[in-house]
Symmetry: C2
């Protein structure tokens, strides 16, 4: 192959089922060894939030939850188990609408159906909440993996999300460490040498979407994907995921800002 060509390689890391309280770093290390894989400088690890949340003991028995009045009425409105709805209300920063099966929330700064609460891949009668602090968790995991393998790595806690008017889930980064998650291309030029109009690249989200090709949504037990050769900017930090305001968002800009008040009025 021509040495000038750019290339990325991705490996799905199969692990045992991850249980509450497990040390996910130890599990990754053992699974890498079983796969004869040794991380190198610039490798990015994408970890499924459900595996990370489970290891962090973020699983909740639904029977232990007593839904309040608001959870009962919203649960009925959106066809969601009122106990799960109670957890959604406890977990989310704000809630501003929904469709049957999904309450639309902002949780840990990210737009999330049902506050990211996951009933798949949890034991019967339980749900998995999002990792408590995905940014901090990704940092801790990166520090330990970097020390173990003596190289500079990146770590992403990733989740699945639908896109507007689109069938099927794609990837979204909840927390990252070790690289620049959104690249500002404003200093760049198009193929004709003019400044670019589309100016930001969602590198971290694209890495999670790429990883989802190997993770799947089902029982593949591939909660971790190693991505090698991605042209990302490595940094020794764990930056916040940049977001945009509702007003500046193409989808929500002139759509939701009024409806949010309606929602609050209706559901007071």
């Amino acid at each position: 192959m021509n040495p000038e060509i750019t290339s990325i390689q991705m490996f799905g890391i199969k692990t045992p089922i991850i249980k509450a309280g497990d040390d996910i770093v130890q599990i990754i290390e053992a699974s890498l060894q079983a796969a004869d894989l040794v991380p190198v400088d610039g490798d990015i690890f994408v970890l499924a939030e459900s595996a990370v949340g489970t290891a962090e003991n973020r699983i909740v028995r639904l029977d232990s939850i007593t839904p309040g009045e608001k959870a009962l009425s919203l649960g009925e409105k959106y066809c969601i188990d009122p106990r799960e709805m109670e957890l959604v209300l406890q977990e989310c920063d704000e809630i501003f609408g929904g469709v049957p099966g999904a309450a639309l929330t902002i949780t840990k700064g990210v737009l999330s159906p049902n506050a990211g609460i996951d009933a798949s891949n949890a034991p019967e009668g339980y749900v998995v909440l999002l990792p408590k602090d995905p940014r901090k968790t990704s940092e801790n995991i990166r520090m330990r993996l970097e020390q173990r393998y003596s190289c500079r790595l990146g770590v992403i806690i990733g989740d699945s999300r639908t896109q507007p008017l689109r069938l099927g889930c794609t990837g979204i980064a909840l927390g990252v460490s070790g690289f620049v998650p959104v690249e500002d291309a404003r200093g760049s030029f198009d193929i004709f040498g003019r400044p670019l109009r589309i100016t930001y690249k969602a590198v971290a989200d694209n890495l999670v979407s790429a990883a989802e090709l190997l993770m799947g949504e089902a029982g593949e037990r591939v909660p971790c994907v190693l991505i090698r050769g991605a042209p990302v900017k490595m940094i020794d930090e764990s930056p916040e995921m940049p977001t945009i305001s509702m007003e500046g968002c193409m989808y929500f800009g002139n759509v939701i800002k009024c409806r949010k008040e309606d929602f609050e009025k209706e559901n007071r």
Copy 2:
């Protein structure tokens, strides 16, 4: 490496600048040869819509466009060149809102800012429209590449899109041929053997997002990425990209359906 491990490889295919009327298949073939790459069964080609649109002569000189009354008023409202706004109105199936710089439309069945019209990567004073029929084009390109290399391939025409409340662009498939673009995982089970709640995988969109890691948005001249080893379901068809209704969409469900009427009232 352990033979049981799943792995995907991606190659960025650098090409000369693609000009109006070029034969994009010939260009890809020459660039593959220069890179010492030979396609094999199951390889997926992701092509940037701007390169495909340009080759298809879908470039328009803005000076040749006379904006109508509606384009003048919407152009002012959304801070868009009224000549470009006129093209947006001509190209889109419907328009139902926007923010400064982006009118929100459905175009060729897909939610698109500014009807997917691209001023970057077009000659000065020109814009590139979306390929006329991305599904048909992806099919034609697949047929020719399959014949040339005597193997079963997939082809995607991909574009960039922002996600709600998120900074930065990710990938979206406008048209596909040769594989199943959205996989229904309803027959699948989670790691505990129970049926999955999240049921669709946006395989084609994830492939485009993965490809964008190598394409970039800037002048890299990588309009084509070859993806090898992705666990997709190959078929000898060019399926329509499945979409969902506004009512069934988590983001638009109880948000836009009223506002669309408002928009139409305001902009009659």
